[in-house]
Amino acid sequence: MGRVRFKNKDTGGWNMGIKEDVEKYLNGDDLKAIWNELYYRFEQEGKDGVKRFWVEKADKIKEEFTKIQEDIKRHIGG
């Protein structure tokens, strides 16, 4: 038993929780904040929540991108 490393000293369980575990491997506060938000969505809505989380972000960028792209096309004309 000497080699056993209990992650969670309070519970004696193996698992301390994925949220804290993964955070240790992330560089930068931005990424950590994204991870925390993502994990919250996973807890609340499951895998679909994770999907929605990224789709929202991607759609926002794509929407802005498309707007600029259309402006450029309009500007060039023809």
Partner: protein, 714 residues
């Protein structure tokens, strides 16, 4: 340490009516066929402790997706556990409320009852905040663990180990992130759009360049100089066009429209449109054109009158000729009437003769009838004149009567002939009158038309209408030819101006194309382009963040797996060797990340580093799954004084089962065991070789309305 002593269950999964179970013995065996409610009983313990945490896809247990807690045949669903910690008994009751998988929980400690959040909090304290994930790792051996090992599918096996090691959340999140990375956020997607857009712009510039060259060449062929194909050139040309149109309008004595006069010649498209409109108007409204139209109308009227005159003249001549021909053939009306009168007299005479003969015939007929009667004795005496004649009756019948009949027939024929002749004369008189009437009417119409034409064209009575009309036609056709030449000259002038309007638009299009070309060439250096690139970079960054998070989860998962395996691998080897009694294998467990799936991939090798999976039987795989679970259960520090096994012996051989039971005996010295099985051999072996006190529940005769029928054996 929390030990389980009693369970009451009602309306949960396969259970309907309330049933109670005693778990206070060191070993509890649940035995029965599949689908009789054994797993429902184990699940009820888990659900009472962890509520909705143990439901749904987040658990990593495949059968938990769309898992129904409440039995459909009963209204209420509740599970009650009696647990003991130290010397204190606690009763935990969880009741399903049906909204969003929520449940109500109550904890009774002596006379004191807690509920809601307070009860949940107290329960967490009782089990040292031990997580559901840990519960699956080291308390409850779910039947999927063994099943997925035995299938030999590496992915299922890795899934099962991840779940045993409490890493199913890592796996779930990696799965969904990988899908997003592959299907939704492909980092280069927006960059590709920019590259395509850039390609489109280059292609457009090329097309515009070629259009400009062609249009410039066309204009130069028409005599335009380089400097005329410019901003100033286009303005000058517009001014020239305006002046030309103005001069032209003065020459033909027609005003230009207000709209054109006030138009700005430097607003080229609008000016060109107005100029074209003005040219069209001048073409149709110039005075010569109006004159020409009048002449055309006059020619048309003369032509029509001439035709009308000729038609009525021909008709008049025809009718006159018909009448004269009739008189020549049948005489005048007086002649015909005289003939008719004579015919009528002849008919009258003949009719008198006929009447006389008829009278005579009647007398003779009556005389014959008289003589033939029986009262007349002397048949030779005439009844009228009393003269006697031999064979008078015969004479009367043969000669006189016979002559009367023939004469009458002759007169009738003559009468018919005379009447026919009379009818013929009457018809001729009608025809005479008709022809005369027709002639008179045509004469009247001819007179009217002549008068009308003479009046319209001012032709005197002495003049020949037809000749006059022909002369007028010739005069007007000659005028028309003259005016047409004048109009053609002016139209040619307008054509020239119109061509210059076309050139004006041509130069304008060249200038616009050059402007577009310039804009397109400058766009890639613009602020908008930079912002577009920024968005593409942001999108790439997003994809990068997904990759970073996947990598972090992989690292965390791999590190955690490695830690746990390092901790338990000695124990796994020990249990595996004991269960299988395999002489050759010394197990070594390791974990890698599969770069294709981004998931943990577990390696089971011998001490020489060789993969042992290909040489393991199904029983060995079953033993391996149990060894990992037992090692985790043994090595962990769970606050639970019991372990639950669901169908652990699925593919174990007889000797493996016996060895497994030996291990269970060791564990049972420290913890109570709850073992569910459908395996008769395993059940019999447990009865024989499990030395601890045990209680057996046989699950049988499950029905939808009553649930399982459970028989207890000691």
């Amino acid at each position: 340490m929390v030990t389980l002593t009693k369970v009451k269950i009602k309306g949960f999964r396969g259970f309907t009516e309330e049933q109670g179970f005693d778990f206070s013995y060191p070993v509890t065996i649940l035995f029965g066929e599949n689908g009789k409610g054994k797993s429902s009983l184990l699940n009820s313990i888990e659900w009472c402790l962890f509520g909705k945490e143990c439901e749904g896809s987040n658990t990593g247990i495949r059968e938990r997706i769309d898992w129904e807690v409440k039995n459909r045949n009963i209204n209420s669903c509740l599970v009650e556990l009696e647990i003991k910690r130290g010397d204190t008994f606690f009763t935990i009751k969880r009741e399903y409320v049906g909204v969003r998988r929520h449940s109500k929980i109550y904890i009774q400690i002596g006379d004191n009852t807690l509920d809601g959040e307070e009860a949940e909090k107290r329960l967490r304290e009782l089990i040292n905040n031990y997580s559901f994930k840990d519960f699956l790792s080291s308390v409850y051996q779910h039947q999927e663990v063994v099943r997925f090992f035995v299938t030999q599918e590496p992915r299922d096996r890795n899934d099962a180990i991840d779940r045993l090691l409490g890493l199913y959340e890592h796996r779930n999140i990696i799965d969904v992130l990988s899908e997003i990375k592959d299907k939704i956020i492909r980092g280069e997607e927006l960059q590709k759009t920019i590259d395509n857009l850039s390609g489109d712009i280059v292609a457009k510039i090329k097309v515009w360049k070629s259009q400009i060259e062609k249009k410039e060449a066309d204009l130069k062929n028409k005599g335009f100089r380089e400097e005329e194909i410019s901003e100033n050139g286009v303005k000058n040309l517009a001014s020239f066009i305006k002046t030309d149109l103005s001069n032209f309008s003065v020459r033909i004595n027609l005003n230009l429209s207000e709209e054109f006069n006030t138009a700005n010649p430097y607003e080229i498209p609008k000016f060109a449109e107005l100029a074209k409109k003005e040219i069209t108007r001048l073409r149709s409204e110039m005075p010569d054109v109006k004159k020409q139209n009048e002449i055309y109308e006059r020619i048309s009227e003369l032509d029509r009158n001439l035709k009308e005159y000729r038609n009525i003249q021909n008709e008049h001549n025809d009718k006159k000729r018909f009448f004269e021909e009739f008189i020549q053939a049948y005489g005048t009306l007086e002649n015909l009437e005289e003939q008719l009168k004579n015919k009528e007299i002849g008919i009258k005479d003949k009719e008198s003769e006929k009447e006389r003969i008829n009278l005579l015939g009647t007398i003779i007929e009556k005389a014959v009838r008289y003589l033939k009667s029986d009262t007349v004795t002397n048949k030779n005496v005439c009844p009228l004149c009393k003269t006697e004649k031999e064979d008078l009756l015969k004479y009367l019948e043969e000669e006189y009567f016979k002559n009367y009949k023939d004469k009458l027939e002759e007169i009738n024929q003559e009468l018919e002939t005379k009447r026919n002749e009379k009818l013929k004369i009457e018809n001729l008189i009608s025809e005479y009158k008709k022809r005369k009437d027709d002639k008179t009417k045509v004469e009247e119409r001819f007179k009217q038309i002549c008068e009308s034409i003479r009046k319209k064209w001012n032709i005197s009575e002495r003049e020949d209408i037809e000749r006059c009309l022909i002369n007028f036609l010739k005069e007007n056709e000659s005028k028309s030819k003259e005016i047409k030449e004048l109009i053609d000259m002016k139209q040619k002038e307008l054509n020239k101006i119109e061509l210059r309007v076309g050139d004006l638009l041509g130069i304008y299009e060249i200038l616009k194309l050059k402007e577009q070309q310039k804009k397109a060439e400058e766009i890639v250096k613009s602020e908008s382009w930079k912002r577009l690139q920024d968005k593409a970079d942001e999108f790439k960054k997003l994809a990068g963040q997904i990759n970073d998070i996947i990598l972090a989860i992989q690292n965390a998962s791999q590190s955690e797996a490695r830690d746990k395996l390092d901790t338990v691998k000695g124990k796994v080897d020990e249990y595996f060797s004991k269960i299988t009694r395999h002489p050759m294998i010394r197990l070594n467990l390791s974990v890698e990340v599969n770069n294709r799936t981004n998931r943990n991939s577990y390696k089971f090798s011998d001490l020489g580093g060789n993969d042992i999976i290909p040489i393991l039987s199904q029983g060995n795989m079953n033993a391996l799954a149990l060894s990992i679970f037992l090692s985790l259960a043994k090595s962990g520090n769970a606050p639970f004084g019991f372990l639950m096994f669901d169908d652990p012996s699925q593919s174990l051989g007889s000797s493996e089962k016996k060895e497994f039971i030996k291990i269970l005996n060791e564990i049972a010295e420290q913890k109570n065991l709850i073992i569910s099985t459908m395996d008769r051999e395993f059940f019999d072996l447990m009865r024989e070789y499990l030395t601890m006190h045990k209680i057996i529940y046989r699950f049988d005769n499950w029905t939808a309305d009553r649930g399982p029928q459970v028989i207890m054996e000691m």
